[in-house]
């Protein structure tokens, strides 16, 4: 029996088990905290900073996806300030690379696009960085357009933690950071890739996509394997 904690999120009384994160309990209670690197079934890394919440008594904001719940904590997940921060962080993602929804395979199926709509992001004030980046279409079935990658690293984690292939990893740093396959060789030449397509399924944007898909036809909302595998993993006691 795990201990049950009761606490509040945005003034609503909620309960969760010891060890759960604020993000998990919020999801269970229908409170939507945005997050692009978070995905149920793989490890959280607290990197996109969109799920930042305030906890009463703490001077610092904290990422809901990596914050364990405690008894009586008072979480503010939505406030004018937090929404402004989220809007700006989302805007940063848009100006960092090249997101043109009109020609994107993920148009209408894109978590970044949805987030921008939810946050009522209507235009960009920040200077555009937008370098022209490569597209790797060497794989038989899939391709990656780095111009649309937001470095959430869901692909890296799902490939490592669920598929067990660890084809994807990260190279370079700062703005030069890229996801890479097999130490930086073209995806099509990878000897570890099993072509399972999980990376494509978990990608929140149109960065990873199935070849042959036209604009706006890259539906990705089919990932039933993730929570299921998480349960298996827990059952194994890992």
């Amino acid at each position: 029996m795990s201990t049950v904690f009761t606490f509040r999120i945005d003034g609503k009384d909620v309960a969760g088990s010891e060890g759960q994160t604020v993000m998990e309990v919020a999801e269970e209670n229908g409170i939507d905290i945005p997050g692009l690197c978070h995905l149920e079934g793989i490890h959280d890394r607290g990197a996109c900073r969109l799920c930042m919440v305030e906890i009463a008594g703490s001077p610092k904001l904290t990422a809901a996806c990596v914050t364990k719940i405690t008894e009586g904590m008072d979480v503010t997940a939505h406030s004018e300030r937090l929404q402004e921060y989220r809007r700006t962080v989302t805007e940063m993602l848009f100006v960092e690379r090249n997101h043109v929804c009109a020609v994107c395979v993920a148009n209408d199926h894109c978590e970044l696009q949805d987030l921008a709509a939810d946050l009522e992001l209507t235009h960009f004030d920040l200077p555009r960085i937008s370098p022209k980046l490569d597209i790797d279409a060497s794989h038989r079935l899939f391709a990656i357009d780095h111009n649309r990658c937001i470095l959430c690293l869901r692909c890296v984690r799902v490939c490592d933690e669920i598929e067990g292939a660890h084809t994807w990893d990260v190279m370079h740093r700062g703005l030069e950071t890229r996801v890479q396959t097999d130490m930086g060789i073209p995806w099509g030449e990878s000897t570890t890739c099993t072509s399972c397509g999980k990376c494509v399924q978990v990608c929140p944007t149109g960065a990873l996509f199935e070849k042959g898909r036209a604009v706006a036809s890259g539906s990705k909302h089919q990932r039933p394997f993730l929570p299921w595998l998480k349960i298996v993993e827990e059952e194994r006691g890992r």
């Binding site: 890394r45 607290g46 990197a47 996109c48 900073r49 969109l50 930042m52 904001l61 904290t62 990422a63 990596v66 402004e84 921060y85 700006t88 962080v89 940063m92 993602l93 100006v95 960092e96 004030d125 920040l126 200077p127 960085i129 937001i150 470095l151 990260v170 370079h172 740093r173 700062g174 703005l175 030069e176 950071t177």
Partner: protein, 550 residues
């Protein structure tokens, strides 16, 4: 990275001393720390040795020592008996030193050395420039390892922790977390396997305190770590040192080997049943690896990126085991605190900032070099009395402390006593101890841009606000320095800086906007000059936009 000649080259000549008591009548100490080495001080050592041998002076010794402090005037040679200091020594100057050595009489005493040396208080640096950094005998000869032997034979781990807690020592890496509290947390953390890690990934621009300590007195750091290991029940340690410090690494390796041979590291230390051994891990040139969780990831062989805390390394660190992580200077304080006592140590300092702090003086200052002063010393004493003032007597403008997370302190605070608290109060940060002095030839917008360039280069790329935001800030600062920015851009700069500070994952991102905040706080007029008048008051920035006609 240039290759530093280190121990691979022939070491200095050890003349056989033929005096009645076996002690040399005169000794020349040649600084062979990185700064003087890069000015060919090793050649001076060799040349001196040759001249002494040729002259048949058998009562004189030539010794390689660590940093003598006054880096600006290197290569430095000191005659230990008289404290006579030879500056900017060239091979042809050796004759003069030989003559001076001939004149040394047994009755000579060390003469006063001027304010640069006399105003300092040496705790961490007490052996610097006095011992051969690759000689365990030299270190032991100056009281080295007495603290460790005392601890192992007479004290319990609790008593050691209490002593450190009472001393008031705080983390010298920058944040100033109480060292005793950290040790206690690690000691009480659950787990049988614990680690002691030394952060030697010094990376702030203009900072070289840790490098100098490691190059000049590596045994002191090892002794401090060994005492810490005893206090927190650890038996394995790592020193994470940046690869850009080849001389420090080489001397550390020598020190570790010598300590192991002497039974002061390894199994059964000092004939007790306490075991502790240390390994070196080299950083690969990432500033962020000085952040504790990134440092741990790097030691583990993973990509050096920070992770959210909690859990803190004291509870869950290296390979998920409780890990004590302190900086070089923190460990280097430990032997002295145990030798002289917590009460002695805490007498120095001001308020909650006890003891001394090592600073690296850099920038437009006469006496570029390494100093150690009690906490509470004023900036004026540091810059003008010890530092010798500004080069060419130009007006002082600001001093930058705390590295890329720090800030610029203007002249109005020159009489402020330096402590962790006072620096934060004026919008800066203690940081590791780099102190960059600026005069009226520095443009403060350009300074902010320089640090932002550093932060965007060094951002690991994990969290969005730091990865993208530092570049955004840099782009706006670049617009300002080119005279192409508007007041809207300035408002955007301030807004964005605030968001990056609040939302970034680690200290690098959270601290990155600080140079902007502090320059805006004290030098907003310079920003306005660039934006409104399209001029750079310091004449540093090339304004491309046409000047506004009045």
């Amino acid at each position: 990275m240039s290759e530093m000649p280190a121990t691979a080259r022939p070491t200095h000549r050890r003349a056989t001393i033929e005096t009645a008591d076996g002690q040399p009548r005169a000794s020349a100490y040649v600084c062979e720390a990185a700064s003087c080495m890069s000015a060919q001080s090793h050649d001076i050592t060799l040349r001196l040795g040759e001249r002494i041998a040729a002259a048949g002076m058998t009562d004189v010794t030539i010794k390689r020592v660590g940093c003598l402090g006054l880096c600006a005037a290197g290569p430095l040679v000191e005659i230990a008996e008289t404290a006579e200091l030879f500056e900017r020594v060239k091979p042809d100057d050796v004759e003069g030193i030989v003559k001076a050595l001939k004149k040394v009489k047994p009755t000579d005493t060390r003469r006063p050395q001027g304010p640069f040396f006399e105003k300092q208080l040496r705790v961490v640096t007490e052996n610097m420039g006095r011992i051969d950094p690759e000689s365990l005998d030299d270190y032991v000869g100056r009281g080295g390892y007495e603290a460790l032997k005392h601890v192992l034979s007479d004290m319990t781990s609790t008593e050691v922790r209490d002593e450190i807690t009472r001393s008031g020592l705080r983390g010298r890496g920058g944040a100033g977390y109480p060292v005793g509290l950290k040790w206690t947390t690690v000691a009480k953390a659950e787990g049988t396997q614990k680690y002691v890690v030394c952060n030697a990934d010094e990376g702030d621009p203009g900072a070289f305190m840790d490098r100098s300590v490691l190059e000049s007195d590596p045994f002191r750091v090892l002794e401090g770590m060994t005492i810490a290991a005893f206090a927190v029940h650890a038996n394995e340690g790592y020193i994470y040192c940046r690869a850009e410090y080849p001389l420090a690494v080489s001397r550390l390796r020598t020190a570790i080997r010598l300590a192991q041979r002497a039974g002061l590291l390894g199994t059964g230390i000092a004939d007790t049943n306490f075991n502790f051994d240390v390994q070196i891990r080299l950083g690969a040139g990432a500033f962020v690896c000085g952040e504790e969780t990134a440092l741990i990831a790097s030691i583990e062989g993973r990509r050096g990126t920070p992770r959210p805390r909690p859990p803190y390394p004291a509870v869950q660190g290296l390979w998920d085991c409780p890990t004590l992580l302190n900086n070089v200077e923190s460990y280097a304080n430990v032997p002295t605190i145990l030798n002289k006592g917590a009460d002695w140590y805490s007498e120095y300092g001001i308020g909650k900032s006890k003891g001394t702090k090592v600073f690296a003086l850099a920038g437009r200052i006469v006496n570029t070099g390494l100093i150690e002063v009690p906490m509470g010393t004023t900036l004026r004493e540091i810059v003008f009395d010890i530092g010798g003032g500004i080069i060419d007597g130009r007006p002082f403008k600001a001093v930058q402390t705390g590295g890329p997370s720090g800030g610029c302190i203007p002249a109005q605070f020159l009489d402020m006593a330096v402590s962790y608290e006072s620096l934060i109060e004026v919008g800066s940060f203690m940081g590791s101890g780099g102190l960059i002095v600026m005069d009226d030839t520095s443009c403060m917008v350009d300074v902010a841009k320089y640090f932002m360039d550093f932060c965007r280069e060094e951002s690991c790329g994990k969290c969005v606000p730091c990865r993208v935001g530092t570049t955004e800030l840099y782009m706006i600062l670049d617009l300002i320095t080119r005279g192409e920015a508007t007041l809207d851009d300035l408002a955007q700069l301030e807004r964005l800086a605030g968001i990056i500070q609040k939302t970034s994952l680690c200290g690098l991102g959270q601290g990155a906007p600080n140079p902007i905040f502090s320059t805006l706080r004290y030098f907003r007029d310079e920003y306005m000059a660039h934006i409104v008048d399209k001029t750079c008051p310091a004449g540093v920035c090339t304004i491309t936009a046409p000047e506004v006609m009045a």
